[in-house]
Symmetry: C2
Subunit: 329 residues, 2 copies
């Protein structure tokens, strides 16, 4: 992982540099180049200083330790303020299985896949096909449900690596209890990291969680939840602790998902703002208290079906503008 | 036109109030209620103070004058800093035809139709079908190509009214020279107002014009141009006078339109930043000068076809956040 330069929009030279990095790392690690994953994050359109990168690879390889995950999580930060790592353990048929993960991301976050870097490792014994399926579904409800600024990125990666060292009976059946236990743990890990990324959004003061329930189907719920977390106006209102729920309903409306506006209820934390698409007279002071929490929760009940989804975002602050007004220098 | 209350998300009561307003105005004007257009702009989800509105209608009707357009343009401003009006005259077969228009809009601007209010009047003698077609096509290249904050609005309207008093030979053939002359004038009027709205975007210091040329088709060009004007990261970079062209190419990339990134050239005003998808070493001082202009121009040449489109937006400033952090109070 290279941090500080995205190696994007760098043409054939950039691709050659990425390949050279992989080949060089493979040589040092005595593995095949195609087993090396190369990831970059940072400024777009500037060629990599390849010599410095290779020098860094050499140094990183020489200091590899089983406990190095925290250092890596720290090293890949750019505008991130906090490092993002997590580990959980589960028991599968008497064997302890560990899942650990690190991620980075703070701006240019509106994943259409991942738009950030996430690396998940596990000692689980699991079939590649199962693992792939689990990762895809997990990314769909975690990283793909966060937005900091609606700008999708040039550099996306979520990778999972399993080495089987836990020696649990192989997970190869998606209907087995072990599959379900592993899935729950993996979803927990990825959702926790996704929320950390949203909370650490550039300039953010709040983690905003939008729960859409009662949608016609899950897709509609996802679309509406993401539209609300991405709305500049809603985000600015949260920054200002202004209970402007009309912007929430407007963002649901322009999301493209079909719903009946005359059935919508909106809650800000425990306070109901809107019933059947119309404003209630609510206690402004209580509403402001809900908006002053570090974690702001918005619940939108469409009362039209079983579809539900949760998305995470953050507020839009002066500091977001400040950080991005002069990012390159 | 009511300014300050959107009369949106107000349910059946809101609809009844709108109808009552139209009926009341029709009575005062001695016309049919269905000939009255009702438009609102302002806070969402609050019931109209109907008595005050009807009182305002009465007062407005009593002060109607042929020269009142400027007062109307002023009266409908909300967070707008400047009023938006324009008038042009053309000659059609010896008759002078006038087109006048006013508009309002500053935030919640990302039209999918109009997301602002625009009222165009003309004394042209023109068939309703032709006029409708002309308005639609004109809205497509003007109001529908601006973005302040990517938040589409609950309250959209662009209306054109023609009374035929210029007594020009009726325009009823879209292949006629008169049709084309009228079209050019109408497009000029709407484009000029659209640019005024983008320039007066909440907190904006710059009008940003994005010209996409060489696209596979016009749709691709439109999609890319709009994606760039809507990118928070690009807008924040312009606010900071930072020539971060990588964000422009990234926004083109995630727009969904298909193009070959290895052919893209990007110009900031007269300075070329990027050629064939890769960064050039450019003069930072000259680039900064281009970004300090009140009107910033970005040209993206995809070198893949004849499609072209122009979109307008503005920068993202601290003041945008400030204005929208506490809009209701």
């Amino acid at each position: 992982v290279n941090s500080g330069n995205a190696n994007a929009c760098t043409g054939k030279q950039g691709l050659d540099d990425a390949i050279e990095t992989a080949v060089y790392a493979a040589g040092l690690l005595n593995i095949e180049p195609q087993d090396v994953l190369v990831a970059s994050t940072g400024v777009i359109g500037v060629q990599l200083p390849l010599e410095r990168v290779l020098c860094g690879v050499k140094q990183a390889v020489s200091t590899l330790t089983p406990e190095g995950s925290g250092n890596t999580a720290m090293a890949i930060m750019t505008t991130d303020l906090v490092k993002k790592e997590i580990a959980v353990q589960i028991e599968l048929q008497g064997r302890t299985v560990t899942i650990g993960a690190i991620a980075k991301g703070s701006g240019m976050i509106h994943p259409n896949m991942a738009t950030m870097l996430a690396f998940i490792t596990t000692d689980a014994n699991i079939e590649a096909e199962c693992l792939n399926k689990l990762l895809k579904s997990s990314v769909g409800i975690s990283y793909n449900m966060i937005s900091v600024d609606r700008d999708t990125s040039t550099n996306d990666m979520a990778a999972i690596l399993a080495n089987g060292l836990a020696a649990n009976p192989v997970i190869d059946d998606e209907h087995s209890p072990d599959y379900k236990t592993f899935k729950a743990a993996l979803d927990y890990v990825n959702t926790a990291l996704a929320k950390k990324i949203a909370r650490d959004g550039e300039g953010a003061n709040h983690l905003v969680e939008v729960q859409v329930v009662g949608a016609a189907d899950q897709n509609a719920a996802r679309t509406i939840a993401r539209s609300i977390t991405a709305s500049n106006l809603t985000k600015a209102a949260i920054f200002g602790h202004d209970a402007n729920w009309g912007r929430i309903l407007a963002a649901a409306g322009y999301s493209g998902a079909v719903f009946d506006p005359s059935r919508v209820d909106i809650y800000l934390g425990r306070e109901k703002m809107c019933q059947n698409g119309m404003g209630l007279s609510f206690d402004e002071e209580k509403a402001r208290k809900e908006l002053e929490r570090e974690n702001v929760t918005i619940i939108v009940d469409l009362k039209s079906g079983d579809g539900q989804a949760t998305a995470w975002g953050c507020d839009l602050s002066y500091d977001y503008v400040k950080i991005n007004a002069d990012y390159r220098t």
